[in-house]
Amino acid sequence: MNVLHFIQQFFSDSAHWHGYDGIPTRLREHVQYSLIALGIAAAIGLPVGLVTGHTGRGGNSLALIATAARALPSFGLLVLMFVLLGLGHLPVMIPLVVLAVPPILVTTYEAMRSVDPSPVDAARGMGMAESRILFHVELPVALPLILSGLRSAAIQIVSTATIAAYVSLGGLGRYIVDGLYQRNYEKVVGGASLVAVLALVTLGFFWAVARLTVSPGVRRGH
């Protein structure tokens, strides 16, 4: 009995491929939770990071908030939210978003700050509007770093979304939580390996996005 054996057992059982507890359903749920959490975190972290990075103001308070948020244990927060808010998606989304905002926010801020100031000066001097400077001069150069922040946030979300199962929600965490409870290690290992594969797919996705969106003039050196 080794891990590979568990994995083989888990995936070859046709019962695992159908129904509400089948792999397709659980995978879809997991991806759905992850995308929603990443979307919310990006909607908070990207604009704040871009604007503070562009203006250079608020960097210190940003770092403080990010550090504080990083110190929060996701699992503890989940239980707390569950106690306060009861069942539902919200108590799961809050810890996932809290987990994902700091890497997005901090790397976006840092990425914008590390943009060479001379093209920005040149752009301003030739009469470019501030918003255009942000999106057409700074963002394209900061993009590789910003994407790396989104990528690490996404991977953390994908791996942490398993805890949703603790509060009776779905996702791949279901297999791990149920498997542990039932002492069905085949299920635990199967669920864990699915999470790992999903994390790798996420990596590949961000690699592809970077290939498509980062200019060849910037890509060198990253």
């Binding site: 060479d116 001379s118 093209p119 920005v120 000066d121 040149a122 752009a123 301003r124 001097g125 030739m126 009469g127 470019m128 509007a129 255009r132 001069v137 394209p140 150069v141 980062v214 200019s215 060849p216 003039g217 910037v218 060198r220 050196g221």
Partner: protein
């Protein structure tokens, strides 16, 4: 004309970067601001396109207060070139140059045509159009910076230490290129540098500024070298300003001697005829008219002079285009004390002694400052 009228820039901490500066920047000429660091020269330049707002005073362009115009309209009417070129690394060279035309609403094809035209004008290989900035050398990047500033054909060009980050040889090339472009386009150029040699070389007028943002002297370069306003300007100009001033006098007026010149296949009669007591050496030229070297008449074998046994002739100067400074330099460096003058084709047009150069300098000084500027 750009009129700077008693402009002061004071920062909240009390530092005065520019102090009651007043001067008129002439149209279609290169005005250079030069001075030690902290003299307010860059601040002055950046106030012209409102990258910095003056605390007091006004800046007028053709009589219009620059504060009355929307800031981005003002900036788009001026080319802006900065020290490290400041190219957009995510854009190709051609799209970097097309930036301002695109901002002004030109369509992509027209902006790119214009950019291609400018690449030619600043001496960039058209093959570089699709490259990215990191693939270019520092000098090439700076050419792109100049092309980008010229793209929308603005009447005014602001250049903030544009050539100080490149090595001296590339810098000289860029300076010559700027003067050539200026001959063709006739822009009103405001140029900031900390290098007095650069200021004297490219400036039509030079504003020397001193620490504390005060104007020390505003004059054409030749006048600056002849007649520095005070000890600060004199000191800033450096010790050899007398020699450098000679670059404003043309060498064309130098009387050349053609007698002490023989061809490599000269006969004994020709050698004998040209050897005079006051010229101890004869300059031997090749059959193509180019200089080979100097020889004492008695050592020259008629009909088959051996070029390997001649004394080196040093660097020749171009009589029609170069200055007395070049002629003097050639005479001083020549082993015989005689400078060799050549035409544009490199053929020897005559020789001149150190004494003759010295006499020319004396008479040029006596006639100055009437036509100094013409020598440029």
């Amino acid at each position: 004309m750009i009129r700077i009228d008693s402009v002061t820039k004071r920062y909240p901490d009390g530092t005065v970067a520019v102090d009651r500066l007043s001067l008129d920047i002439p149209d279609r000429a290169i005005t250079v601001f030069v001075g030690p660091s902290g003299c307010g020269k860059t601040t002055t330049l950046r106030m012209i396109n409102r990258m910095i707002e003056p605390s007091e005073g006004t800046i007028l362009i053709d009589g219009k207060d620059i504060l009355k115009e929307p800031v981005n309209t003002l900036r788009r009417s001026m080319g802006y070139v900065i020290q490290n070129a400041g190219l957009f690394q995510h854009r190709t060279i051609i799209d970097n140059i097309a930036t301002v035309p695109r901002l002004l609403g030109w369509d992509k094809a027209r902006a790119r045509d214009r950019a291609r035209e400018l690449m030619g004008r600043v001496g960039l290989d058209p093959a570089l159009a699709k490259r990215y900035p990191y693939q270019l050398s520092g000098g090439q990047q700076q050419r792109v910076g100049v092309a980008r500033a010229l793209a929308a054909d603005p009447p005014v060009l602001l250049m903030d230490e544009p050539f100080s980050a490149v090595d001296p040889i590339v810098r000289k090339g860029l300076q010559d290129e700027l003067l050539r472009i200026q001959d063709e386009l006739g822009k009103t150029i405001v140029f900031v540098t900390h290098d007095i040699d650069e200021a004297v070389k490219i400036g039509t007028k030079v504003a020397v500024m001193r620490t504390g943002g005060r104007l020390a002297q505003f004059a054409p370069p030749a006048e600056l070298l002849t007649d520095p306003a005070d000890a600060f300007v004199e000191d800033f100009l450096g010790a050899d300003r007398g020699i450098r001033r000679l670059s404003f006098f043309p060498a064309a007026g130098l009387p050349l001697l053609t007698t002490p010149v023989v061809a490599v296949d000269a006969t004994a009669e020709q050698i004998a005829a040209r050897a005079t007591p006051d010229v101890p050496y004869l300059l031997v030229t090749g059959l193509d008219g180019r200089p080979l070297g100097w020889g004492e008449p008695h050592t020259l074998t008629a009909g088959r002079i051996d070029p390997a046994r001649l004394i080196g002739h040093g660097r020749p100067f171009e009589h029609a285009t170069e200055s007395l400074r070049a002629a003097l330099d050639c005479a001083v460096l020549s082993p015989t004390g005689w400078a060799v003058a050549v035409g544009a084709d490199g053929r020897v047009t005559g020789v001149v002694s150190q004494q003759t150069v010295a006499e020319a300098i004396r008479s040029a000084h006596a006639a100055a400052p009437a036509d100094e500027k013409a020598a440029r």
